[in-house]
Amino acid sequence: MLRRIGVKSLDDLYSDVPVEFIHKGEYDLPEAKSEEEVRAWFKDFASRNTELTVFAGAGAYDHYTPSVIPYITSRSEFLTAYTPYQCEISQGTLRYIFEWQSMICRLTGLDVANASMYDGPTAAAEAMRMCVACTRKRNTVVASSALLPNVLDTLRTYARYSGINLVETWEVQEAVAEGTLDLAGVIVPSIDKYGFIESHLGLAGLVHEMGGLLVEYCDPSALAVVKTPAEWGADIAVGDGQSLGIPLCYGGPYVGFMACRNEWMRKLPGRIVGQTADAEGRRAFVLTLQAREQHIRREKATSNICSNESLMALWCTVYLSLMGPEGMRRLNGICYSNAHYLHDQLLATGKFRDPFEGREFLKEFALQPLCDVRKLQQALLEAGFFGALETEEGYVTFCVTERRTREEIDSLVKVVKEAAL
């Protein structure tokens, strides 16, 4: 090979690199490990973690993963494939993304969805930017303080550098009705950060009157039973597909989704798969509307996104296919039942107060602790439970999914009852 190239050694291939840049000596890395050694290494690291019975949510939910899914997503043809630019040999990827887009539209009630974003919080940030792009000269986006803290953090980060005027408030309708803002958009949660389902009656009409777009941040699993963004009159819906059976895995990879009304289609960021035909009339799928994207529009693109979370979109698509409408309904029913049972049992211990009486919730809720939160969390940890996340305002939240058994819930309640808090 060297002869064909016309050089004497591998070093000659780097002769155009200034000599002082060539790294001399060894890299301070461990010696190469065999497979068995790699296995042992990770087993050791995993042993230093504590697996807990999860009673927390806050953006990452412990739903069950159907056994089928990893067998499909680990198929090499899906796992080791590149972005489907050469569509003739990527119909597998393109078709499951088309199915994902379709399912996201059905969950949200909206018209168009993209091929995925990195996660829910970044999808929200992209929606914030999209509002500004769609309303051209306007630059203010109102975000509800009831959004999850990590969503707000990401919105703040993206707004900071792009100069978008991000206004955070608990009183969204009031802020919009004032009429003084050059309103590009409003971002509200479908379910607030404590787990309570929000009503957005009248909001869409008001936002549109003021010239802005309405964005809803949602939990796609809950959308099976909760009023959809389309039903509330929203223009854009975003959220994280993690609740569709993706393992917690300490925070990633998850998957963001983004859907919008037809009229905003051309400003939707990210990849989009469309249906067409080949010369023989065979149904074919391709990446389309690419002129929105960075490789064509460069600095004028709606977004800089390139790689997204394609394989996780496959994960969710398979999940929704397995669950079907009946499975999703039943799953939410079980969550509802479990969460309300825990809620009532915790109140009965006398160590909590319920300032949210009357608010409806599905799987997550907040209570006012009448005990020492630190001690509560510690007692739970020692018993192998992770829950009672403390919010900024001093409440504690619990999340109970369909994975939690009656025994586990009773066990947690027992710990709370018996601990000196």
Binding site: A46, L52, G92, Y96, E231, S303
Partner: protein
Amino acid sequence: MKYYDKLIFELSRKGRTAFSLPECNTELPASTLWRATPLNLPEVSEPDVVRHYTNLSQMNFGVDTGFYPLGSCTMKYNPKINEEIVSQFNSLHPLQPEETVKGVKAVYDFMDKALAEITGMKHFTFLPCAGAHGELTGLMLMREYHFSRGDMARTKVIVPDSAHGTNPASAAVCGLDIVVVKSKENGLVDVEDLKPLLGPDIAGIMMTNPNTLGLFERDIKEIAELVHECGGLLYYDGANMNPLLGVVRPGDMGFDIMHLNLHKTFSTPHGGGGPGSGPVGVAEKLVPFLNIPKVSGFHGNFGIILRACAYILALGRENVKMAGPLATLSANYIKESLKDCYRLPIAAVCKHEFVFDGLAEPNGVSTLDVAKRLLDYGFHAPTIYFPLLFHQAIMIEPTETESLETLDAFIEVMRAIAREAAEDPELLHSAPHNTPIGRPDETMAARQPVLKY
């Protein structure tokens, strides 16, 4: 590959189920907060689902199927041991207290040290989920550095004309204006064109080295000095890190901020378009700002970081020094073997990739035709029509994990296609012939978008 034309919705039959949940008689109480529109998801059985997605997968090409000479994508083999070690971390909630995730912290610490050692940077943030996300984060850090010194005037970033589209797009998302610096005839950044662009309004320069033509920017020392002198910072786009793996460290070349693509250089699988991971490393002076940008919800794509960690452990101190050179060897071998039948605009020693500008004797055959014909022979096409500097660009990057037999087979096929271009160009215009579908009507797809079932 067999043409399988069903979508999951078409397999739906009323009443079929595939979920596994206990009975539940809970009726949600009446409320205006519930969904009124029926939820229309497919009703299928488990075998239906498995067969459907298995058949879909058989219309897909992956690295495990065959060779992917995609320039700038580094489609190296994805080791399976990387996959095996992930699931033991699956049940950890991202908000669990530190004392319960000491093993996770140890992985992040190891990766921070290892990547710092490999790149010459001081510390990394692992929040970005992809390369473009890393670019954005890196530019945010660049701005934070200037803000901290009260310098609000630096609103422009310099980008070479050969840059990947994500560079200017990321700059725009970060609120920066682009200033383009031209490349010379030899494909390298024109330092003389750079000089007048430098000033107090420049936040920094984004560079890829080797650049998108696969050429090492040998003036990098001078460029670094000039940019630093005017008060700007240097950003390294790590998409082309592979040939430098084990040979050169961006930190040693004067770069202040950089991102890595774990799904390129560090062998994590591409997944059909993600998930990836784009950790961003910085030099000492930027470390205080590293945790300011919150660009994703939790701690980055930990599952991907785990896979890259396994790769680094398996590669080890001994083998990391071979990765870059073998990638470079493979690229130059293909270049030299095909330069008689494909136009080689820049005849220099390349690094991990190089660019042809179409056929030497096109006979009306375009780069697109060549790419589509390659699919018939069981290869994925190289990157085409990028970089924009050459109108019939074919960018080839073999990586270090391909055998000599594979490289020779690819060379033979490329020669055969060049012959076909001379003898039977129509065959190429109408390619591919051996794939589940032929060339699609992309104009119709864009003019009359059908984006859901």
